[in-house]
Structures are given as structure tokens and as C-alpha cells.
Amino acid sequence: IEEALIYETGRPDVTGVDLADVDDTELHLGGLERSDAPNLPGMSEPEAVRHYVRLSQKNYAIDTGLYPLGSCTMKHNPRLNEKVARLPGFGDVHPLQPVSTVQGALELIDLVANGLKELTGMPAVAMSPKAGAHGELCGMMAIKAALEARGDARSVVLVPESAHGTNPATAALLGYEVASIPAREDGTVDVAAVKERLSPEVAGIMLTNPNTCGLFERDIIEIADAVHAAGAYFYCDGANLNAILGRVRPGDLGIDAMHINLHKTFSTPHGGGGPGAGPVVLSEALAPFAPLPWVVSGKDGFDLIEHAGQAGAAKPFGRMTAFHGQMGMFVRAAAWMLSHGADGMRQAAEDAVLSANYIRACLKDVMSLPFGDRPCMHEVLFDDQFLNGSGVTTLDFAKAMIDEGYHPMTMYFPLVVHGALLIEPTESESKASLDLFIATLRDLAMAAKRGDTERFAGAPWYAPRRRLDETRAARQPVLRWTPQAPSEPEPKRDAAE
């Protein structure tokens, strides 16, 4: 069933909100009254509710099925967390209320901060970054600030080929030159290459661990030592912290800064792309440069440090965002931490790793492992070698999964592997669910090898939409509804994948 756009069914003169009458006598707008009538369609409440319910039915979600999107960590989102985030004492509190009226909010932030520090073995944490990439930016700013504070401006940041795209983008935002580090045959960072590229110009290295191939960087301590010996800092992308939570503490590995995706490891819901939250843990060396604001605890309760003048000996490098960070996400993460506890968090990491390895073990004979048959962490990476000669591409394979009722895994990432298929089951799946997923993938792999190309090339057949023409979208961008543009594009144009 098709769902029209609000611009096709709503009307600017309709409203689904009843508001009191207001007398028009007095305006104090300095003559700046709005002159145009914006085209903002309104709807009665029944129409609006139905529109959004029907739109929602066109979405796949972790609540509707396994969502094996590698590196994105789609795990169960407990509803308790949604409930507590909506307590008026958390959800209905203004960031600039007097500190005396928000002691519980500051306590909550402190609780999460302490949890993150304990879990990572790091002495400090900056809570305000709004998402993972924002946390990266924050961590790299702390590094830059620390270098500048010692009068040692440097110009290069080392980033492995397999890194998330946010890593080089972040370094570039800060004016750093990005030097790429190749991967070894086994999918991990080449220590020798790192050492070779280290120089007095290198500000730091940005490394993901467990890395984006789903492997733990065995030589990480050696790398950290080399980086430190070169006077540089070690930034760790914490997107995959969920694999080692409670078992390995990044602080014990020599890391100087690491962002933590609360919407991955701590299960705050992704919401179709956000909001996230990206607190950054910092080493002793970087802690003094943490950005404003932060929470301190004293004998009279909690207080907020919002200005450099209040910061004492610290030298905050500045501010990442207005206000205090993603409070709504902190509450959810706090509920997740408290619910799991030290024991449950460790078990969650172990189950995530176990499940990924189980998939690896059950699929290795029909799919292909780029780095051989060795244990992975929380996600397992296949390449497209098993599709060679079948006429089926990685993309086709993934789209065919949709017809079987599954969201595809991450494709074509990391770039170091040809036709990558990165599967992350998380700790939230039952064995029965994993077994069904495995059986489906085996069946698909076999079908591909049999040369059943039509099933793949045309997929998905049974989704709300057949394959969409992304090229057309980029070449002839239609980024908003306009009354001029025909609301129905010409029919029957083949997808150009």
C-alpha cells in the first residue's frame, strides 16, 4: 500500500493541534512580522497518526528481526530505558535551571561517567560529544590541545586503511594530513609500517580495536609504546568496545583517547540514524584538556563547570556543543549499565563474540573468510571470493537476504577486503535465531553457487520497494517536495546499480 507525502494530503490551513484563541492587539516584533506563508501542510490527528504508523510499517527494525549490520551493533533496546528517560525529573529538566534544582541530573551524568571510566580503565571522560564522530573530533582536539600546550604542533595523523571513514574526515577537519597505514595479510595493522611512519611530525594514530575486520589488534601494546615513544598520542575508535566490555580495558592497552558510542555498546536506540552519544575517555596526559562542561562532586552536592574561569588547574580546549551532552542517552545507558551490572556486561561481550564465531564456524565452508579460519571478535568478516564466477555480487547477495526476511549485513566495508560482508549478530540473538539465520545464508550461498542469478539480480522482490535507483537520485537530486515537480516520476526505469 502506497503512502502519499504529507505535501500531497495535508493542507496548510488544517491543524491537528487545538490552541487557545489569542487577541491580536499588541505586537512587539519591531515590524519583523513574517510576510510569506510557508507551505507547511497540517493534518488532523487521526490522519497524522495513520500516516506515520503506515510509514513505520515500511521499516525494518531490530524489534522485527535480526539486524546483522557489522560495526553498527544493532542489539536489543530495553523498553525500561525508554520509560526512565521519560521520567519528568530527567526528560523535563532545562539545561540552564539553577544547579540546585538539577542535582539528580548531575548525579546521573556522574554515574554514567564513572561507569565509563571504570569499564575502560581511563581516568577521565568528556561527556558532551553528541555522537561517535563528534567524540572522535573531541578526542583528536584534546590531542591537538595537548601538543599545542607543549608547543609541539605536529601535522600528520596515521590512519589504517581499514578505518571507519569518520577517522580520516576527523583528522582532516583539524587540519591534519592523513597518512594511511596498510593492513597486514592477517587483517591487522602492520606494526612495522606504523613504526616506519612515526616521526616528530606525527601527532597521533587513530586505530580501531577490535578493528573493522572484527579482529583484536594483537600488537596494540607495542603500537602504543611506539607511538608514545615518538611523542605522539594514541586515539582509539571505540565503536567496537562492545566486544571487550568488562574483559579488556582500553586504559590497559596504552590508549590516550577513545570515544564510546552509547548507541552501540550501551544500546541506546538508533532511531533511524540518531541521536547517538559519544563520550570520550581520556588518559592522564589528555585529561586536563577535556572540553567544557563537566560535573564535579563536592560536599554540598554536584556542581557544573561551564566556564574556563571555574576550571582550576585544567585547561579545557573549548566546547563541543551547547549545554551538557545527550542527557536522554545517558539515562538510557545508565539503565543498561545498572541492569546488566559488571557481570552482565562481561557476559554480553562474551555472548556477542561467541555468536559471531558461531556464525563463522557454521558458514566458513560455504562462504569465504579473507583472513583464514581464526577466531574473530564480535563480528565476522567474509569476502566475495565464494561468489566468484557465480554472477552474483556482494550487493545482490545482500539484497536477496531481504527477501528472506533479514536486514543485510554491512557491505563493501572495510575497504581492505574485496566485496566485504561484515556480520555482527550481537548478544541479543537466541541460538534458534542464529541457527535460522545461518541456514538461510547457507541456502543463499548454495543458490548463488548454483547460478540462480535471477533470484539475486532482481532482489529484493518482496520488500516495500524493489531495488532503488541511487544513481538517478545523485545525478538528478530531488531533495524536497516542490509543487512544480511532478510528484510521480516517469514510470518504468531500470535500476542502475
Binding site: 516584533l29 506515520y52 536506540p269 540518531g274 566546547r319 541492569s339 551490572g341
Partner: protein
């Protein structure tokens, strides 16, 4: 543990299938020195009842805005959000879905974003908008970087009455990236001299309206001067509802409009998550940061939506990207879009009128209190008063009397010595009783 489906028997069977003795074998790559055998020093698992009790107790230590006469603004505003908004955003299919990388099974999110982008463009009077930013402040920082890219200049001029935390975000990003920022001091009475700073090296001038003190700013002369020097005007707002009544930045000549969308559909949440709105002219779209939903067709020719122009983005462009942004504020954008759809243009206008009327009534009531002076002539739903005692103490004393009366300017501008000023906001939630309670309490505090 209630969230973990695997039983010990399941785990044993899986170890056997993998061919390992136990979990430790799977962590073999971790250097032994970094193994942690003991649990981290945090409490053990708690039942749902215990967690709820503990967090409820913590929440109970805060004064919820809805429980008192409430007049705090300065960048975040308490509006009434229809119950259906919060219900709809909690639907599993919206709440627990990821970024719509697989458009065939995420048309719900994608169509919503396409509608959202259109709404934001219309609201701001611009041609095109993105799928949201983290919040207004980070969006402002991104807007400045975008202006640098577009003009190939590196000096931004900031109005003094830009929200100081926005300013701090812009300055930090600029300084860290090696760019220049020129800023005026704040002017609580509203006479700003930003035009004087615009020259041929200026990439952009950043002006907020209503500004942090609540003054409405006529952007037209600023736009004219900026354009005359080849600079861009970045218009900033923190109160999206104002656009229902006040001339749109687009109509006044802004090139990039960026602001905070929290007021529509989103709660206060102690400062986050919020939703940054970001709009610009069509010709600038390829330098715009953030996600974009675009219309296309599927293999059967049916209309559909996808994320597009991703060649601007980090996962394709890596160090050449327009921004490092990956996550947006999808769910907050959804709340914004639903609320806006419920309002419609007519509802938004009326909502804005009520906000303004309530502010006018409040300003009158407070100005009548001895020792209070109103600084604003033109304002929307927020204004600044000068009080006869230290503002921070006044606000604290009001809180003790059960009135959250606004933000002392010193909370925002630490070093500027405007310590007798309070920024006060009024919205549709305020009743006559609320206003009377505020005036009475203020009178007592200033007596």
C-alpha cells in the same frame, strides 16, 4: 540476565560447534597483560524493579519544569508536545531501526526525512535542507566551515549576541581547524555593530535572531553588506517557533540558516538530544554537511527515497568529506516532523502568536515590579530584564520560592559583568497564574 537469550547449555553447544573449549579461546588475540579476570568494579546486575526505583529516586531530586511556574529559555524551550508525537516515535519500526542504508526496507525513515527536509526549507524560507544535525550549536559550527569552503576565505564574523555557547562551539572548531573568528562583545540592550566588521576577507557573518537576549534582528541590511563583500550571511535561531510569526531568514537574505529544532516535538531533556536544522540555497547543496534523503524510482518505476549525494560524506570521501558527521538526529527530526505536521502552517502561526502574547503579558507584569527594567523593544517569546540585585541570587531565590524564573546572564557570559540581567522566556505553557506567581515572587525577592 533478562536481555541475554543464550543459556549455558546453548553456550556449550556453540563452543563445541566452533571447536573451542570455552570463551577464553576466542579472546586469544588479546595480550595476556591486558586480560582482566575479575569483574570491573561496578555493581552486579539489577532487576528491572531495582533499576527503575534507583533512577526514579535520582530523577526525583530534580525540579521538573512541568511542576512549577517555568520561564527558562536561552536556547531551549518548554513547549507542549502532543501525546501522539511521543507515541509515534516510540514505534519499534522507527525507534529501533538504523540509518537507512538499505532503502528498500527503510522507506518509512527515508520518506519522513524527505518530508522533514521540505518542512525545514519552508520554515526557514530556504530552498533545501539536510536531514538534521546534532543540534543548533554544532550546526552553526558546520555552517561556518561550509561558508569557508564556499567562499574559500577563512575569517568568520560573529555577532556579539550569538548564544555564547554557540559562539564557543564555532570558535573551538575554527581555532582547532586553523581558521579565524572575529567576535563582538555581547550587547544586552540590543545595539550590535556586526556590520562594521565585514570586509573582503570575511567568509561569513553569523547573526542570531531572536538573539540570546531575545531581541529580534533585521537581517536585511546585514545580508546586503555581506553580499556586497562577497561574504555569506549565516542566520541562526534557537527558537524554531519564532519562525511562525517572524520574517524568515530566507526572506531577509540569509545564505545558510541554521538553528535548534528542539522547540517543535522535543522535550527539554536537560540539553540533549536535540535536533539541528540546516538549510541553504540549492546552489550550495554540494557543500552542505550531513545526510540527505532524495527522491528516485525503484526497478518497477515506483517513487522511492534513498540517502543521496553521499559523495560529500565521510564514508565515501574519507578525509575529503564536507564533514565528519555520521550520526544525525533522526528520531528527534521525526518528532519535529510529526509535530509540524500536526501544527501545519496555520497551527504554527497561532502557536507563535500565543507565545508572543504570553511574553508581552509577562514582560508587562514583570516590568511593573519595582526594581525591574525591561531591556527589549522587539522580541518574540523571550526578553531580558535588569533587576536591582545580583541576578544569580535572584534566580536562586526564586527557585527556592518554587519559580524557575530564567537564566542569569552571568551563567552564559561569565566574564562580561552583566550581573544584574536575567533572560526570561514565556511559551504557551504559561498560565495567568504562572505569571502572577512569578511577579509576586520577584517582588518579594527584590524587596
Amino acid at each position: 540476565m533478562r536481555y541475554l537469550p543464550l543459556s549455558d547449555a546453548d553456550r556449550e553447544a556453540m563452543f563445541a560447534r566452533i571447536g573451542v573449549d570455552g570463551i577464553d579461546d576466542l579472546f586469544a588475540d588479546v595480550p595476556r597483560a591486558a586480560w582482566r579476570d575479575a569483574l570491573v568494579d561496578l555493581p552486579r546486575a539489577k532487576s528491572e524493579l531495582e533499576v527503575e526505583r534507583l533512577l526514579s529516586r535520582m530523577a526525583g531530586k530534580n525540579v521538573a519544569a512541568g511542576s512549577v511556574p517555568f520561564f527558562v529559555g536561552a536556547g531551549a524551550y518548554r513547549h507542549h508536545v502532543p501525546a501522539s508525537v511521543d507515541h509515534l516515535i516510540q514505534r519499534s519500526e522507527f525507534l529501533t531501526s538504523y540509518t537507512p542504508y538499505q532503502p528498500e526496507i527503510t522507506q518509512g525513515t527515508l520518506q519522513m526525512l524527505f518530508e522533514f527536509q521540505t518542512q525545514v526549507a519552508e520554515l526557514t524560507g530556504m530552498e533545501v535542507a539536510n536531514a538534521s544535525m546534532y543540534d543548533g550549536s554544532t550546526g552553526t559550527g558546520e555552517a561556518v566551515l561550509m561558508a569557508h569552503r564556499l567562499t574559500r576565505r577563512e575569517k568568520a564574523v560573529l555577532a556579539g549576541n550569538l548564544h555564547p555557547q554557540y559562539r564557543a562551539v564555532v570558535e573551538n572548531l575554527a581555532h582547532m581547524g586553523g581558521h579565524e573568528v572575529v567576535t563582538l562583545p555581547p550587547v544586552p540592550v540590543g545595539e550590535d555593530d556586526v556590520m562594521a566588521l565585514i570586509d573582503d576577507d570575511t567568509s561569513c557573518v553569523v547573526v542570531q535572531t531572536p538573539d540570546v537576549f531575545g531581541h529580534l534582528v533585521d537581517l536585511r541590511p546585514i545580508a546586503e553588506k555581506a553580499h556586497a563583500h562577497g561574504a555569506l550571511l549565516i542566520a541562526v535561531f534557537t527558537e524554531a517557533v519564532s519562525l511562525g510569526l517572524v520574517e524568515s531568514p530566507g526572506a531577509m537574505g540569509a545564505d545558510i540558516v541554521v538553528g535548534e529544532g528542539q522547540s517543535i516535538g522535543n522535550g527539554l531533556n536537560f540539553g540533549g538530544p536535540y535536533v539541528g536544522l540546516f538549510a541553504t540555497r540549492s546552489k550550495f547543496v554540494r557543500q552542505m554537511p550531513g545526510r540527505l534523503a532524495g527522491q528516485t524510482v525503484d526497478a518497477e518505476g515506483r517513487r522511492g527515497f534513498v540517502l543521496t549525494l553521499s559523495t560529500r560524506e565521510q564514508h565515501i570521501r574519507r578525509e575529503k568529506a564536507t564533514s565528519n558527521i555520521c550520526t544525525n538526529s533522526g528520531l528527534c527530526a521525526l518528532a519535529f516532523s510529526i509535530h509540524m505536521t500536526l501544527l501545519g502552517a496555520e497551527g504554527l502561526k497561532r502557536l507563535a502568536r500565543i507565545n508572543h502574547a504570553n511574553a508581552v503579558k509577562l514582560a508587562k507584569a514583570l516590568a511593573a515590579v519595582p526594581g525591574v527594567e525591561l531591556l527589549n523593544h522587539a522580541y518574540f517569546n523571550e526578553f531580558t530584564i535588569r533587576v536591582s540585585k545580583a541576578a544569580a541570587n535572584v534566580v536562586e531565590a526564586l527557585a527556592e520560592k518554587g519559580v524557575l524564573g530564567g537564566v542569569p546572564v552571568t551563567r552564559l557570559f561569565r566574564q562580561n559583568g552583566h550581573d544584574d540581567l536575567v533572560i526570561v522566556a514565556a511559551t504557551e505553557i504559561n498560565t495567568d497564574d504562572d505569571r502572577a506567581a512569578y511577579a509576586a515572587a520577584l517582588q518579594e525577592v527584590l524587596a
